[in-house]
């Protein structure tokens, strides 16, 4: 009974207040859980964070002093609690590898990844969705076969191979694109950092030289990421569309005398919006945290290579900080797609 009362009270709060509260509490719970797991894994790993700082030849006193300074003498849960308090104050600790606050590092590294992932996803959407729709409409024809073959290659060729071959051909032999890194060395630090995404920053500063140089650098890695995104998006679009095209309301639309283009885009396509958003959000999130290999091959100073390198040097503050950011991005993308669902599908509204 008591429980029911509580539920009734909760439901009596107007939705405009209730929804954000429930969304926010979901975010907080998810983030704390994520931090907890990452924190525990970091602490129980057989890597000694003290040794990573003081080095192997430090005396016992030095070692102990650092041990206590890091708070490692306290119980694990207490350590976690203090870490949590710090995080909520925006303090992610100091990276022992770069010597900078982790927050500053991430501000530098994350935009680079975001720039790459965003362009990759845009390519994935612009090419992948029409390709998937086309394959579904022309099911079983040679167009469908080609579309499926393209997707299959995207699934099965490893990114490090295609990255290296791409660099060899388009940079090494043909010289059409810029090499590894985000900019040629002479262009670095020419434009002030605003968003951290060089393409946008250079446009803001009105410096087209920097823009075109940055573009020539990003085009190859972004195309490669875009290709993987395209493979996934087109395959999913195809199967979503096939499902819709077999449904009765599509026959009804044809009975009304609609043209095939209208049946496909106005009726069937509008019904796969929600599913497509899920797929695009997943693929985008995947590119944001999972493009480590691409970043390493293209010497791209992004968050993926930042976390990986930090992990290899036992820089747990940096790893945790990076995880927080990636986790936050995931959660935010989920919330965003939830909101888009409600806009696109009338059935999702209450």
């Amino acid at each position: 009974m008591k429980n029911l009362d509580g539920q009734r009270k909760w439901l009596s709060i107007p939705p405009i207040v209730r929804k954000p509260i429930s969304t926010l509490s979901t975010i907080v719970v998810t983030m704390v859980g994520l931090l907890f797991i990452t924190f525990i894994i970091g602490r129980v790993m057989p890597v000694d964070p003290v040794l990573a700082i003081v080095g192997e030849r430090a005396s016992q006193e030095q070692y102990d002093a650092t041990y206590i300074a890091l708070g490692l003498d306290r119980p694990l849960l207490v350590q976690f609690f203090y870490y949590l308090v710090d995080v909520f104050h925006g303090n992610l600790g100091v990276s022992i590898r770069t010597g900078l606050p982790v927050f500053e590092d991430i501000k530098r590294f994350f935009p680079a990844t975001m720039e790459l992932a965003t362009i990759g996803t845009i390519i994935g959407i612009i090419v992948g969705i029409p390709l998937g729709v086309l394959a579904a409409v022309k099911r079983g024809t040679w167009i469908d076969q080609i579309a499926r073959f393209i997707a299959l290659i995207g699934y099965s060729i490893p990114v490090f191979w295609i990255g290296l071959v791409g660099l060899l051909i388009f940079y090494g032999i043909l010289g059409w694109v810029g090499g590894p890194g985000r900019l040629d060395i002479f262009y670095e630090d020419l434009v002030p950092q605003v968003t951290g995404m060089i393409l946008i920053d250079s446009l803001l500063a009105g410096d087209l030289d920097v823009f075109s140089n940055a573009f020539s650098h990003i085009v190859l890695p972004a195309s490669i990421l875009g290709y993987y995104s395209l493979a996934y998006i087109s395959r999913m679009t195809r199967s979503f569309m096939l499902e819709q095209l077999n449904s009765e309301y599509i026959t009804a639309a044809r009975v009304k005398g609609l043209s095939e283009a209208r049946v496909i885009w106005k009726h069937a396509f509008r019904n796969i919006g929600v599913q497509l958003i899920t797929v695009v959000a997943l693929s985008y999130a995947g590119l944001l945290e999972g493009s480590v290999l691409t970043e390493i091959i293209f010497s791209w100073p992004g968050i993926g290579s930042y976390i990986t390198t930090s992990l290899l040097s036992a820089d747990m503050a940096a790893v945790l900080g990076g995880t927080v950011v990636v986790g936050l991005v995931f959660v935010c993308l989920n919330v965003l797609s939830d909101i888009l669902y409600r806009l696109l599908d009338p059935r999702a509204k209450q």
Partner: protein, 285 residues
């Protein structure tokens, strides 16, 4: 040539792993300004006959006919563009379950207006007004609200009325009703049927009523084709159903419970494989 529809020797085939499957096997019939019932069990080819008329059998299905005409147009050879003009404006179809046959993410009003606006040049205001009138014609009490509603906000009976409104707004001369009440509650079946019947009568349309319910069809139609195994086995005037001679029709009639008879055991319908191979009866006028 005053018939609305003439079909001669219609075959509908689907390739399967074991060879061609014949869903409709050499059916001939005409539709005058009448209400023609097509009755048969599941898989007897009745729905396929309806869809073949609209030329909506999708590949890999194969449609063959010696002659198939709608209002004098040769459906077999008409270019797709011309066929689209025919659909919705001259011949239309009400389908089984409004839950699946209405687009879930489009407002009802938009879906009704769409049928009109692709066949006629109408401005938005007039189209809306016509759609509201049409909703009134299918006895929806609150047309304004339903116009702006989404299909999931309507009951099954309401949804089917919307479907009828959507399919009749462009004033077609022929309506195919493919089991229009099978998905509805028994209590609303009759209401929906009466609405449809009234509209078809008022507008002087031809109706092809496809159903597995022999009793229902005999109440609403003038002439009944009984299909079995992709063929027409018998043709009855609806008033003379009790004079039906084919054992399949007799079997169907005898296996229906009747309120005014004492509860004897109902007969079981025994299908004779020989029925399949009999010559199809012609329903041409």
């Amino acid at each position: 040539m005053s018939n609305l529809v003439d079909v001669e020797n219609l075959w509908v085939r689907f390739p399967t792993r074991t060879g061609l499957f014949d869903a409709v096997r050499g059916v001939s019939f005409s539709l005058g300004k009448e209400r023609l019932g097509i009755v048969g069990e599941s898989g007897s080819g009745k729905s396929m006959t309806g869809r073949a008329l609209l030329r909506l059998i999708r590949k890999p299905g194969i449609v063959e006919a010696d002659r198939m005409q709608i209002l004098g147009h040769d459906v077999m050879s008409l270019p797709e563009k011309e066929m689209r003009k025919l659909r919705g404006r001259d011949i239309s179809m009400v389908m089984q379950d409004p839950k699946y046959s209405l687009n879930p993410v489009m407002r009802v009003g938009e879906q009704i207006v769409e049928t009109l606006s692709i066949h006629e040049k109408v401005d938005k205001k007039l189209a809306r007004q016509k759609a509201l009138e049409m909703l009134e014609a299918v006895v929806i009490r609150d047309p304004e609200r339903v116009y702006d509603a989404y299909p999931h906000e309507l009951s099954g009976g309401m949804g089917q009325r919307v479907m009828i409104a959507m399919m009749l707004i462009a004033n077609p001369k022929i309506l195919i009703a493919d089991e229009p009440t099978s998905a509805l509650d028994v209590s609303v079946q009759i209401q929906v049927l009466e609405i449809m019947d009234k509209l078809v009568r008022e507008r002087g349309m031809g109706l092809i009523f496809i159903s597995h319910d022999l009793r229902l069809v005999s109440n609403f139609c003038d002439r009944i084709l009984i299909m079995y195994g992709g063929r027409i086995v018998e043709i009855c005037e609806s008033g003379k159903l009790d004079q039906a001679t084919h054992p399949y029709t007799r079997g169907l009639l005898n296996s229906m419970p009747q309120l005014d008879h004492k509860n004897e055991r109902l007969e079981v319908l025994n299908r004779d494989p020989a029925w399949r191979d009999q010559e199809s009866v012609s329903g041409l006028l």
